[in-house]
């Protein structure tokens, strides 16, 4: 097990800056999730930790050791790939034992470690099968098993669930969480799915254009986003952003506030004229437990509202309101206005 430190890490491909200076401290045993839209550099950052991409500048420490120039195999990391990268010509046993074999671990020890990992991941019955004979979920488990047998300090996951169907994804997500609990290793997990990020992470690192937008626990990011980008990226459906004047009726806004954000689940439908803003019901999407309402506001914008119970008729006038403590204010640069209270 090991901590991990990134100091002003940068990556340049030719003239393109992909990672533009990332600082991060990962505690021993922590589960960190890199999240961000495609092209934000999250996978590149993970591959730099693995040693599969070199570091243009900055310092990477695993434990107390600077590993910028250390070969991937000697960093004490194991990686689970999005594609699983299982060798198609080797069966499950040989796939899992590959790393031990090339490291010349004796056969008895190899068998023991494969057996332990297989038991942990319920792969015992599949050891003689080839990857093509496995389902997506089983392949995923073999890929994790291959990472486990090497007994790494740090586990790296590169979008490991994105090739699975929705149901299996939820299941594997809980298996990965359980695995982390049992093994207690440091884990870094890349995803573009913010639900995965929210459910798995001790802390989430939100990346955009090669920069860290915010680091914090899922709750911190949801309740106190540092900026408009994080506010809208975390949470689904995404936060409504309105001109600050819209919230005038709900209480005083910070002086420098330019816009106000409110999550769809925090907006309530009230009688026309009674809320902070008024508009016209556009579409109602029934999702079972609740409905997602699209409300066309008088100022021309559209607001999303999570609503329980019967939706108002289309085209009927409605008012919207929210509790003052659910409002997020942002200045003209999109930075959160922290209420100085």
């Amino acid at each position: 097990m090991s901590s991990l430190t990134l100091r002003n890490i940068q990556k340049r491909f030719g003239r393109v800056d992909v990672i533009r200076g990332v600082d991060l401290d990962v505690a021993d045993g922590e589960f960190i999730v890199f999240v961000g839209p495609s092209g934000c550099g999250k996978s590149t950052l993970l591959r730099m930790v693995a040693g599969l991409e070199d570091i243009t500048s900055g310092e990477l420490l695993i434990g107390k050791r600077v590993v910028n120039e250390v070969q991937p195999a000697k960093r004490g990391v194991a990686m689970v790939f999005q594609s699983y990268a299982l060798y198609p010509h080797l069966n499950v046993r040989d796939n899992m034992g590959f790393g031990l074999k090339v490291r010349k671990v004796v056969a008895a020890e190899r068998e023991k470690r494969i057996g332990e990992a297989a038991a942990l991941l319920k792969l015992d019955a599949l050891l003689e099968r080839f990857p093509r004979e496995l389902s997506g979920g089983q392949r995923q488990r073999v890929a994790i098993g291959r990472a486990i047998v090497g007994n790494p300090d740090v586990f790296l996951f590169d979008e490991p669930l994105s090739n699975l169907d929705a149901e299996l994804r939820v299941h594997m997500r809980s298996e990965i969480a359980a695995l982390h609990k049992r093994l207690g290793n440091t884990m870094i997990y890349v995803t573009h799915d913010q639900i995965e990020a929210m459910t798995l992470a001790d802390r989430i690192v939100v990346l955009r254009d090669g920069l860290v937008e915010q680091v914090g626990s899922p709750r911190e990011l949801y309740e106190r986003p540092d900026n408009l980008f994080v506010a809208q990226f975390i949470g689904s459906p995404k936060m409504n952003i309105l001109p600050v004047s819209s919230a005038a009726a709900l209480g005083p806004a910070p002086e420098n506030a330019a816009s106000v954000g409110v999550r769809p689940e925090h907006l309530r439908i009230v009688a026309p004229g009674e809320g902070a803003v008024s508009g016209k019901m556009a579409i109602g999407e029934y999702t079972g437990a609740s409905s997602l309402l699209h409300v066309g506001l008088d100022n021309g914008e559209t607001s999303l509202v999570v609503h329980e119970g019967d939706a108002p008729e289309p085209d009927s006038p409605v008012g919207l309101t929210a509790a003052a403590h659910h409002l997020h204010f942002f200045d003209q640069h999109g930075r959160a206005c922290r209420k100085t209270n």
Partner: protein, 307 residues
């Protein structure tokens, strides 16, 4: 005629008694017929003819054919020492060419699937000889491989080696035709290997690298096994090609010196079109067919045993 049950088609037109299945079959035959006709006339026909010719004593000039049974085969296999000499030459040619060609093709492919500036240029350079005219290729190499005045020997002399008269000494002539043939044809196998290498996901290499495998281990334990099917195809077509080699021998050495490069396909040509022993040449062609077929079957069997 009994009417087939209707399949409810309003578009049956002028032949309402045909079922959908029959109409589809007719269309299929219609589309197949041009190719099928070509196949029967230009491939199956001659093939049957060769079997027949091989059982006759047939003189091309008098157009007289006499049935002689298996005499031609008996002649080739048991009475004519030339035949075994020629087979030996063909085997030597194949044993020299196939491994050299494949090893070189794989090395080039491994080098030219790396990303570096000019990679497309080098791929083109190594592939260009494949599409070069065999005649031009032979003329240039005959010139380069001349005795003392030849370019190759001049280069060798530059580093203190006295080169042989390449195309005038039987053993060296064989080496020369093998090497020049490899240089001409290696680009084709290189392209096949490049395609196969590019189809191997890069994640395999990354995963193996993370697990501590050296470059050699990655090649031996991951890349080489995954190239297996491609290697088999390349081996089969290169072996067949090497047994069928004709133009290169005809142009470079004419089978000489002292029949040192007289290979099977060229020997068949000589017998059939220079000495007009059509029956004997046909028997030789059948024997060559069996040899190539046997080699292919053996290679396929070895591969199946491997996996």
């Amino acid at each position: 005629m009994e009417r087939k049950p209707s399949t409810g088609s309003a578009a049956r037109g002028s032949a309402p008694w045909l079922t959908l299945r029959m109409r589809e079959a007719m269309e299929a035959w219609l589309f197949l017929s041009p190719t099928l006709a070509g196949f029967l006339i230009f491939f199956a026909g001659p093939l049957v003819a060769v079997v027949w010719y091989s059982l006759t004593e047939w003189n091309l000039l008098t157009q007289q054919a006499t049935f002689v049974g298996l005499d031609n085969y008996d002649d080739a296999l048991f009475r004519n020492p030339d035949f075994w000499h020629v087979v030996r030459n063909s085997v030597v040619f194949a044993l020299g060419l196939v491994p050299l060609n494949m090893a070189l093709a794989l090395m080039l492919a491994l080098a030219l699937t790396r990303r570096f500036r000019g990679v497309v240029f080098f791929r083109t350079v190594f592939f260009a000889p494949v599409v070069t005219s065999a005649v031009a290729w032979a003329i240039v190499w005959k010139f380069l491989l001349q005795g003392e005045a030849g370019f190759v020997n001049q280069m060798l002399a530059g580093v203190g080696i006295s080169g042989p008269n390449w195309l005038r000494e039987p053993d060296w002539a064989m080496v020369a035709v093998i090497v020049t043939r490899v240089i001409k044809m290696v680009g084709l196998n290189m392209i096949l290997y490049i395609a196969a290498l590019q189809a191997i996901p890069r994640d395999y290499e990354a995963a193996a690298q993370l697990e501590g495998a050296s470059n050699w281990q990655i090649f031996r334990m991951i890349i080489w096994p995954l190239l297996g099917p491609t290697t088999l195809v390349i081996m089969v077509i290169t072996t067949i090609g090497s047994f069928k080699v004709f133009d290169h021998i005809y142009l470079m050495t004419g089978g000489g010196p002292e029949n040192g490069t007289l290979v099977l396909a060229f020997y068949i040509y000589q017998q059939g079109f220079q000495f007009f022993n059509v029956g004997y040449a046909s028997a030789l062609a059948m024997i060559m067919f069996v040899i190539v077929l046997a080699l292919t079957v053996v290679q396929l069997a070895l591969r199946r045993k491997d996996t």
